[in-house]
């Protein structure tokens, strides 16, 4: 569980960036066109995402293309699943407790 990853995706713009570059590798300029924001602002988000290893850079000529680190995204999915599982386990245990209580009442 790496806290920084979750902070990285806590921001709506960064989530939108992830959604976009999941479809295809994009340059910061191309990304900025999709948001009402400056290239600088997009670059800042990309830096955070890169630091958290959620995205990777590739140079093609003079352009930098950003793409998604799929394995890292799966970690987030896994973490959320774990939290949901905790509740599932709890409630399954409660089902058993309730079944016992029902038997005792009869």
């Amino acid at each position: 569980m790496r806290r920084d990853v979750f902070q990285a995706i806590a921001d709506p713009t960064r989530r939108a960036i992830i959604a976009l570059i999941a479809l295809q590798a994009m340059t910061p300029n191309a990304l900025a066109e999709n948001f009402h924001t400056s290239r600088q602002a997009v670059s800042k988000h990309l830096r955070i995402l890169t630091e958290c290893e959620l995205v990777k850079q590739e140079y093609q000529g003079r352009e930098i293309y950003y793409s998604l680190e799929v394995e890292k995204m799966k970690e987030i999915d896994k973490w959320l699943e774990q939290f949901r599982k905790i509740w599932e386990t709890r409630f399954n245990q409660l089902d058993k407790v309730l079944a016992n209580l029902k038997k005792q009442k009869k």
Partner: protein
């Protein structure tokens, strides 16, 4: 995210802007039993800690202003203490509490969370709705604030897209 366990509804959603987690679950038991299972220490301790953890309630006064002081004990014996303080109780319908982690001497941490439980019964099936509101960015709860389940499921779609794009 919706899943069916033994045909019993289970919903778990996270609303980041509202800093809130919503949980809804149906139970195949009458309301009075479900209410007891959520409000009596000896019953709570039987289910509230997900195995292999166990729940140990040191004391519990289920009344407005009353408290439950309890620990989640890990398989290695490590205890994580917490305090629940009951803010309002409408018998067999609703109760609200404040939950905060603490040390073994009952000294609470600074930030906690607000919990709201609502119970209703229809045709012998009891529905419990739990709303958890977190005021702080601390600990595990804060991690949840970063995203919604909708986001997780959209990631699944993305994975599929990516898998087909890789081919």
């Amino acid at each position: 995210m919706k899943t069916e366990t033994n045909d019993l509804l289970f919903e778990f959603t996270v609303d980041k802007p509202a800093k809130t987690v919503y949980i809804k679950r149906e139970f195949d038991a009458p309301l009075s039993l479900v209410w007891d299972a959520f409000t009596k220490a000896e019953l709570l301790d039987q289910w509230v800690a997900p195995a292999p953890f166990t729940s140990k309630t040191k004391y519990m006064n289920f009344e407005v202003g009353g408290k439950r002081f309890y620990a989640m004990v890990g398989p290695d014996g490590t205890a994580r203490w917490a305090i629940q303080q009951y803010k309002s109780i409408t018998p067999k319908t609703n109760f609200k509490m404040w939950n905060v982690f603490a040390d073994k001497d009952e000294n609470p941490e600074q930030h906690g969370s607000d919990w709201d439980y609502t119970f209703s019964e229809e045709k012998g099936v009891t529905t419990v709705r739990i709303t958890i509101y977190n005021e702080s960015f601390e600990r595990m709860e804060s991690l949840l604030e970063g995203f919604k389940l909708g986001f997780a499921s959209s990631l699944k779609n993305l994975e599929r897209l990516l898998a087909s794009a890789v081919k």
